[in-house]
Amino acid sequence: MNPTLNTQTGISLEVRGLHKSFSGQPVLQGVDFFVEPGEIFVVMGPSGSGKSVLLKHIVGLELPDAGEILLNEQIVRGLGSFSQYRVGMVFQSGALLNSLTVGENVGLYLTEHRIGTPEEIAQIVAQKLQIVGLKNIEHKFPSELSGGMKKRVAIARALVIEPQLMLYDEPTAELDPLMAVVIANEILRLNQTMHSTSIVVSHDRELVFGIADRIAIIVEGKILVVGTPDQIRSSPNPLVQSFITANVSKDRNVV
């Protein structure tokens, strides 16, 4: 295995005054926050609030109109950050390559960057799949997997990079509650065992309050509040309260 992949320490992330508009429509309007190395930081907000766009900026898939992103106190721009830091991302859809088998998907980074022999890559793939609780599925295609398995394979694929910063985009979306708990436990376990910094974007309240060290609430492209789960629960901000306490009431829906 490439020796450059062996150091496994989380890195800090700072987002400063991030602005982004698409076709004149503002999506991010001055986002600022700081994430400590090794922290699980959750960005929570309603659909369309700019959470996924924020993640794309952090990973370098989008460039900001204004503002900057700092990894370990160094400004990074675009995909250039990958030459210095190992950043893994788990997409909402999993984004597994459908034409490749599970094993080829998980080992893709190693194969394409020619890190290790085919036997070593197969061994690493099996090990990473085992970490996320999957065994002997290397020869299956993504279309043969359930939604939860696809998510776990996507996590295994990101783990192969041995990320210093791990980004999760809606990791429990479209999963049943039991599988959502499995994924949440995986995120916690990986953070504890691998000590990488984790940024999770989600609007799943159970997940957010279950795993977060700190939570940021983002609404209409602005961070409303940042704090620990307890601080967020006791926030006096009515928008925050309405978001974290929203519930379906059968009585209220009956006309």
Binding site: K56, V59, G60, L61, L79, F82, S83, V87, G88, M89, F91, Q92, S93, A95, L96, L97, N98, S99, L108, Y109, E112, H113, R114, R157, I161
Partner: protein
């Protein structure tokens, strides 16, 4: 339109710069070559067989009326080698392979697979575009060579079997050998080489800029095929004009 042309030229340049990566991508290149050849060989040969046949059928009786039927082999041979096989097979490949490239890369773009490649520091130009471009640039001229042979044979079949033409197999091929030079075939191959690069770039470019869901993929496929066919015909004129300089 100019923005698109600019983007395609940048993509083409980046793919050319990625040439040293070709050895690393050899498995994918061979897969693409097999895919293109396997999918199109029979259809290309059948198309050219009938193309040669129909030229012979249309022009044979007219030439016989004027006592010029012995020139039929050269007429069919030149038309097929210099113009019809390169253009028609390229149009066929644009429809069959260009559409598949745009659909596959388009679907990967829409479902964030291309973004996933980028986050793994895998350049989509190296991983997706380079193997497809090399595959089509190698295979299309090969298909054109086989199509030229099929077209010549198709013309010969009609010339010998149609009573309105009644030209012997030997007379047909003797005239063809006298009229058609190696440089005529090479001229057709040069065209097909350029058309192949153009189809590959247009289709991969459309795939990579796909937006939206399945409808977006459909739009990209349509644009890839239509733009490729239009550009084949435009490029054909300019290439013919350019190659004429070397024939004089």
């Amino acid at each position: 339109m100019f923005h698109n042309i600019g983007e395609m030229m940048v993509l083409f340049w980046r793919t050319l710069c990625a040439w040293p990566q070709a050895w690393n991508q050899r498995r994918k290149i061979l897969d693409q070559m097999f895919e293109i050849g396997n999918a199109s060989l029979l259809m290309a040969c059948v198309l050219s067989l009938f193309l040669g046949g129909v030229i012979a059928l249309q022009s044979g009786p007219v030439l016989r009326e004027r006592g010029l039927v012995s020139l039929l082999g050269g007429l069919v041979g030149l038309s097929i080698a210099k113009e019809l096989a390169p253009v028609m097979i390229s149009v066929l490949i644009a429809g069959r392979i260009g559409s598949a490239m745009a659909a596959e890369i388009g679907s990967m773009t829409v479902y964030q697979e291309v973004d996933a490649l980028r986050t793994m520091n895998i350049n989509p130009t190296h991983y997706l575009v380079l193997p497809r471009l090399i595959g089509i640039v190698v295979m299309l001229p090969m298909l054109v060579v086989l199509s030229i042979l099929a077209g010549w044979f198709g013309g010969a079949l009609v010339a010998t079997n149609n009573t309105g033409i009644a030209l012997s197999f030997d007379a047909y091929f003797n005239n063809l050998r006298q009229v058609v030079n190696v440089k005529d075939v090479v001229s057709g191959l040069c065209k097909s080489f350029a058309f192949a690069a153009m189809i590959g770039v247009v289709s991969c470019h459309q795939g990579l800029k796909t937006q939206g869901g399945p409808r977006g993929i459909g739009r990209s496929v349509t644009k890839a095929v239509v733009n490729s066919i239009v550009l084949i015909l435009i490029l054909d004129y300019f290439l013919t004009r350019f190659l004429m300089v070397f024939e004089q």
